[in-house]
Symmetry: C2
Subunit: 349 residues, 2 copies
Amino acid sequence: MTYKLAIVGFGTVGQGFAELLQEKRKYLKDTYGFDFEVVAISDPLKGSIYEENGINLKEVLSLAQKEGKIDGYKRGIKGWDSIKTIKETNVDIIAEVTPTNLESGEPGTTLIKTALAEGKHVITTNKGPIALFYRELMELARENRKLLKFEGTVLSGTPAINLALITLAGANINEIRGIMNGTTNYILTQMDTGKNYGEALKEAQGLGYAETKPDADVEGWDALAKIVILSNVLMHADLKVSDVERKGITGITLSDIKKAKEENKRYKLIARAWKENGRVKARVSPEKVEEDNILFHITGVNNAIQFQTDILGCVTITGPGAGRRETGFALLSDFVNIHCSLIDRCCEK
Amino acid sequence: MTYKLAIVGFGTVGQGFAELLQEKRKYLKDTYGFDFEVVAISDPLKGSIYEENGINLKEVLSLAQKEGKIDGYKRGIKGWDSIKTIKETNVDIIAEVTPTNLESGEPGTTLIKTALAEGKHVITTNKGPIALFYRELMELARENRKLLKFEGTVLSGTPAINLALITLAGANINEIRGIMNGTTNYILTQMDTGKNYGEALKEAQGLGYAETKPDADVEGWDALAKIVILSNVLMHADLKVSDVERKGITGITLSDIKKAKEENKRYKLIARAWKENGRVKARVSPEKVEEDNILFHITGVNNAIQFQTDILGCVTITGPGAGRRETGFALLSDFVNIHCSLIDRCCEK
């Protein structure tokens, strides 16, 4: 079995995914018995390629890295936009990895809708469409009997969505809480060593953990998108972005950190969803976490989620929360899981 | 869709599973759209029932608890042994929950083989058959196009096997390590507060965490079975029980614990599998764990596993490692996942 893939959006994550696909081709064949070709890549800034026999990933990755453009690729058709790429190439699966926009959800939402309507499976790491239009998109997937998978929208490739949906199937999740943003956790961890907010932020920026304009992370928007997704997917909620209380970490001073330390506590930016009077509520805010909670010990860019379930009590997963390859891996695992669903077997090694 | 189930073995876990099935009937129907009937229960000590219209679980659980026997159940056929139950009842799925035997794997292995050969799916929490005959049993399942699922053999219902197989699909697991036995972790945690081994063991026995004859736990056999299963299922190993170095916690003294404490370390019974010269090796032994490792902070009966992967680095899961309902839940999640595989969709809520 050979799947044809298109990668729509060829930034950090799209390239990370392409890199993993290239490295893992033999592993996927040996372990799961399938092969693939990436036949199309489309990016509004870097250009696009449609090559029905399969694009040489090594070549195209090298072009993207050296020239910042993929137009120079020697074979195939150039210049198709993402919609044309989805509609007119004969692909089975679309990897949608355009940038997150939490206001409009675009361009991702339109791309995902188009792909599902055209009968393609979709894997995405784009928080915008899933945070804003989860139910509508799943309904469209169901109508078209296609799969929409989005593990990478929360905690990059660290299992979060699939962990809860598949491996906790049958459990009721009554509360979700966790450290879902690595940038802020890095900054708070650095402040814990005595640096002030500005110094810690600068350091995070220097290491590539924080953007020049760091608001999406430090004001809690990124964590907010994630808790909305988790609430709606795992707790039957129907939350909108505007329903969630949000407070970032910019108001936390070194003196707050020191006071917490004296109480044996640590500030963490906690995203939290819980049930209250039969409704799901969610909040993102800095909380003082006690030492006997595992979240206290999650430091640096690491992330963690705790699922409070009816039968198992608290189940905690921790791992990386971001990164080119780590997020690319979410797409890879979604891809493998689509294969396993299609061949009607569980994933076996 | 209505599945017919048989529960073979009606001890703690079998009853825990029946309890959850009874409680979760409406949830399963509402969430996943399927119903079920338990039509047979068979246990060599407690008796057996075959009632093709479905056994009343509340009644049978009350009998088991009050009388220690289920023979007094009013309807259905009595007296069939487990093999006859598997062969002559018209069930779709067998829950095999007989006691673990790490030497012969019996009676579980014969029961699982019979069930697969008869065209039944199997869910089990029995470590013996999976630790001893994993490859053979999976081959038999494949030949018969049936599913064999065994999440509950490791960390009760806390996702471990399915976490790695499904949600980490596509990753290479290079090392597995963790605290996989709650009894020993409870004892070590108590020793950390100043109790000696004998006192801590007695306390664990009083709370039902340790057996009167505690060897399976304290000598490391239980953790050994689990690391053999994880190695063979997740790391392509072909380890036998006798291949694994094993050292329990009975030799650890209060003075060892105190010395470790002075170094800011804690003794934990660590089960570990790693690659060495292209082969997988495994070991169970007490290790001094440093404070910056999450395993240091896993206390009491809690368990945790760390998967060292090629792409994500370290992913850690923690949750309960034992318990009537917690282990029963593993069977429930396997059951739901079989349903999802059969209807060719991912689990969606």
